[in-house]
Symmetry: D2
Subunit: 310 residues, 4 copies
Amino acid sequence: MSLSPEQIAEISTARAAQSQTVRPTVPELESLLYQALPVLDHGFVRVIDYMGNDAAIVQAARVSYGRGTKKVSEDRGLIRYLMRHRHTTPFEMCEIKFHVKLPIFVARQWIRHRTASVNEISGRYSILDKEYYIPAPEQLAAQSHDNRQGRGATLQGVEAARVLELLRDDADTCYAHYEDMLNADPEGNPMDPERDGLARELARMNLTLNTYTQWYWKIDLHNLMHFLSLRADGHAQYEIRVYAEEMLKVLKAWVPATFEAFCDYRLGGASFSAKDLDVIKALIAGKPAVQEDSGLSKREWAELMARLGR
Amino acid sequence: MSLSPEQIAEISTARAAQSQTVRPTVPELESLLYQALPVLDHGFVRVIDYMGNDAAIVQAARVSYGRGTKKVSEDRGLIRYLMRHRHTTPFEMCEIKFHVKLPIFVARQWIRHRTASVNEISGRYSILDKEYYIPAPEQLAAQSHDNRQGRGATLQGVEAARVLELLRDDADTCYAHYEDMLNADPEGNPMDPERDGLARELARMNLTLNTYTQWYWKIDLHNLMHFLSLRADGHAQYEIRVYAEEMLKVLKAWVPATFEAFCDYRLGGASFSAKDLDVIKALIAGKPAVQEDSGLSKREWAELMARLGR
Amino acid sequence: MSLSPEQIAEISTARAAQSQTVRPTVPELESLLYQALPVLDHGFVRVIDYMGNDAAIVQAARVSYGRGTKKVSEDRGLIRYLMRHRHTTPFEMCEIKFHVKLPIFVARQWIRHRTASVNEISGRYSILDKEYYIPAPEQLAAQSHDNRQGRGATLQGVEAARVLELLRDDADTCYAHYEDMLNADPEGNPMDPERDGLARELARMNLTLNTYTQWYWKIDLHNLMHFLSLRADGHAQYEIRVYAEEMLKVLKAWVPATFEAFCDYRLGGASFSAKDLDVIKALIAGKPAVQEDSGLSKREWAELMARLGR
Amino acid sequence: MSLSPEQIAEISTARAAQSQTVRPTVPELESLLYQALPVLDHGFVRVIDYMGNDAAIVQAARVSYGRGTKKVSEDRGLIRYLMRHRHTTPFEMCEIKFHVKLPIFVARQWIRHRTASVNEISGRYSILDKEYYIPAPEQLAAQSHDNRQGRGATLQGVEAARVLELLRDDADTCYAHYEDMLNADPEGNPMDPERDGLARELARMNLTLNTYTQWYWKIDLHNLMHFLSLRADGHAQYEIRVYAEEMLKVLKAWVPATFEAFCDYRLGGASFSAKDLDVIKALIAGKPAVQEDSGLSKREWAELMARLGR
């Protein structure tokens, strides 16, 4: 991770500015606020602001159920109930804002989550920094042979070294030519006063997809959990999963009861079809169950057995 | 407005609970927090939580424009620029949560704004309070003769008294029968132990549309301004406009620079078509301009002249 | 259901207007198009337009997977795969538009689904028809004793008759006074030329919540299935569930492969938490499993056993 | 533009498959359906499906206004009214689906429009084609000197030739190394059977941002017009504007009355602030108006005068 000296100074200043508020606060999250949590070789996740806590979810749920239900359940049980029955609107009552630095190819996956607000650094206005993602050697995975989108064994030795060299050289070359075409230093001043630089909005097309970008990203808790359930999952690409994993730590600090229910029901849970349920019931009843009679395809059967740990 | 004693006590407790935070705070809004701003005869708007301030908008805009632009404009000018050019995403970086009590027919208009989060009291779970909206005499408007959705002159004397009596009597009767069908006190206990009460989810259909409901409503600043530009407008129905007007006071306390730009560009501004612009340019040039040659219909011409104060 | 003669004529005209198209068409849905499917005593659902079919989902999914996967799976298997793994975006590629007539208290639940487009008849512009929902006797359920939002046994005899009379009388009275205050016939012409009528936007507040309204409602297939999974569910209120059930018939005619997968994975499926899965695995292994050791509350245990049919 | 032979065959097949439908159809758009409209050097826009027409907008608007208004306005006037008063929901009742091939840096701007459905070819599953955008010589603009995001004069001679060579060489090199790291032909078969290829999801990071991608993109008419008003605007980057311009032709074929109103009110129209309006009124009244007394900054004054053609 590389924060600029200005960014480090900004973080110190922001963290020093204590104010009084009558809003709900979460001390565990306050201590993380503004801090850069490092991800990959140059990326980070920073919490910039938040609104609400576990109690705000309960408060919103209770307005729905009205005065008669105040005594019904204590907070943790209610939060588990909401999560189990996918009563999602109370979780929308909390909001969080992140500052994230991430490679462009990761940003392209991330932005597919539409119910969030984003302000990204613009390559039309600004000259992008010379920072790009190079995988750590243990992440240099081969293409999986049996899964079209998966990773297989890690490349070794000469093979791995060659890949790293190609990635590094091409990113370096492309960035050098980007600078050259721009004919500008990072402040936008011409390097060679004799010639015009290519427009920024054009020159950027020469950069490689591992170049880092950054953005402010604001989302409500319900949609954050949807993002995390997909991106902290084992099927997610490693390079986005590591961001999701840092954000899980933030979730735990922010809304611990919700985090616990989320881990139990979403991250650790599973869904089954009607046909799957028939198989499960048969297995529990001690009856034989085989793929051929189940109405499931071979692939569906294999996925079911995997989820049942068989 | 009628807050229950429990609600008044809750507000005091919430306002007394001061915490330290490193988040941006807005003292002018803190002093409004949790307070019920009365609207109509029993309604209110309360700010429950907020996130961000004018500076957060600037901060988000600047990440888009990058380091080179830090000096370009000071904050107020930048906010005016964003508003003028409808660069809306930085305004999404602020969020606010309200608790609102409002008549059901107003709630039906309000909910058409989809980009917000809502938790409403549910008539399936809870027994709704006996509170309904009766217009103040000066709001008892006749149907407009020349505008299908507008209000005309105020009803007077016997006519007005009769309308008020009808509204009051019908709401009273319907509520009394609601209670009777429910066979339950506000806590849900049977009044006549000898018989079953009708299900809440059915009994509620007997209530009139002026019955009050309440909800938590959370929205980002961009979408709040869109809501306010439509609902604080003169074409909005009075009964929703008064809510919007209270929320304008909240906006002013929360993000004063944004509020100023919003008043100038949205509330006080106007849009013109290409044909309108041709007329305006002709008028400025001192040329004669008449509807017949303008390409505008009579109605369009009249609307244009009205916006030009002619 | 009561269609006006104009509406019946419009439907005939629309159904007679055959055109040629190169778009994908679905003959089974074409035969339903514009027809009113009756719901409740005066309501209906009509399909007004549609876009896409099962093949459009497959086509969109295959652009994601690229040329290499054309042979991988046949369509039905791919649609089941998408449903199972909640790859929801291909289902967004189909769209459908309904015309629905429904009681206002049902419309208030329905509108909470935000990712749809709606145009509703406006009580500010129009005079609403004298039509309101009165439950069939077998739907006059008592409040459930053990479920705050549920229905219990059906009211009988005198009790039931009394409820029906109250509902009918109050709706009649409120509507009569609505007309009286408006002082207008359904075309908006004054009944008593000597006096002004109350503005429509005010008079409507006197109507009861079982008054019928109508709207155009347009939604994509993914969000339609989300709506149906919640509203065709046994926990949904009967009065909205019957609409969902008619729409399931539409779904079956429109996208049969998707309908089949939806029934298997959503309507007939179930989700389990990590703790639930531990219990299921123990049961399959023939080990004893009791609530006390499971980490589940009594309620959670009961819900789990119910889903396992025990 | 380069369509593959398979794509050309698919288009012929799709265009030949005429069906009968009772849905509204638009012959002018039918004749465009599936055809690739070329954009940039290798890109295209194709209409894949559509729903609704000008009449569907009017129909949806009329349900809002109810039976009393059937005679009020003829369709064109009503559509102009809806556009002028930003009654946007009836425009949501039409939907269109495109297949678009576009450079990744354009896709990154495009995807910021969140209210659309997208299925993009995935570089995790598929091997991307060797196609990248190289600007035509007349588009090789220098960075603007007075506008941070704009383009200035066109680069000439040696300078231009050098930029084109850098762009072409770097894209070629990066793609060659992408293939090399993948160790796979376009069908995914290994080129060198002795070694493993790098995982697709990793190798793609070496591609440059001018590489072409493609997606299905589905959007309603209201949101399409919002997209076009921003992206067909002179401030939009040339490389996205040319896509918007092709889509304007589609709009004209599909909904001609809406297209006309859109051109008049959105593309050719302008918005003014309250302070702007004061200046306009003064100018029309023949009074002197100068920046210093207007409350406008120099920049705001300049923008106002530009919009007034002064």
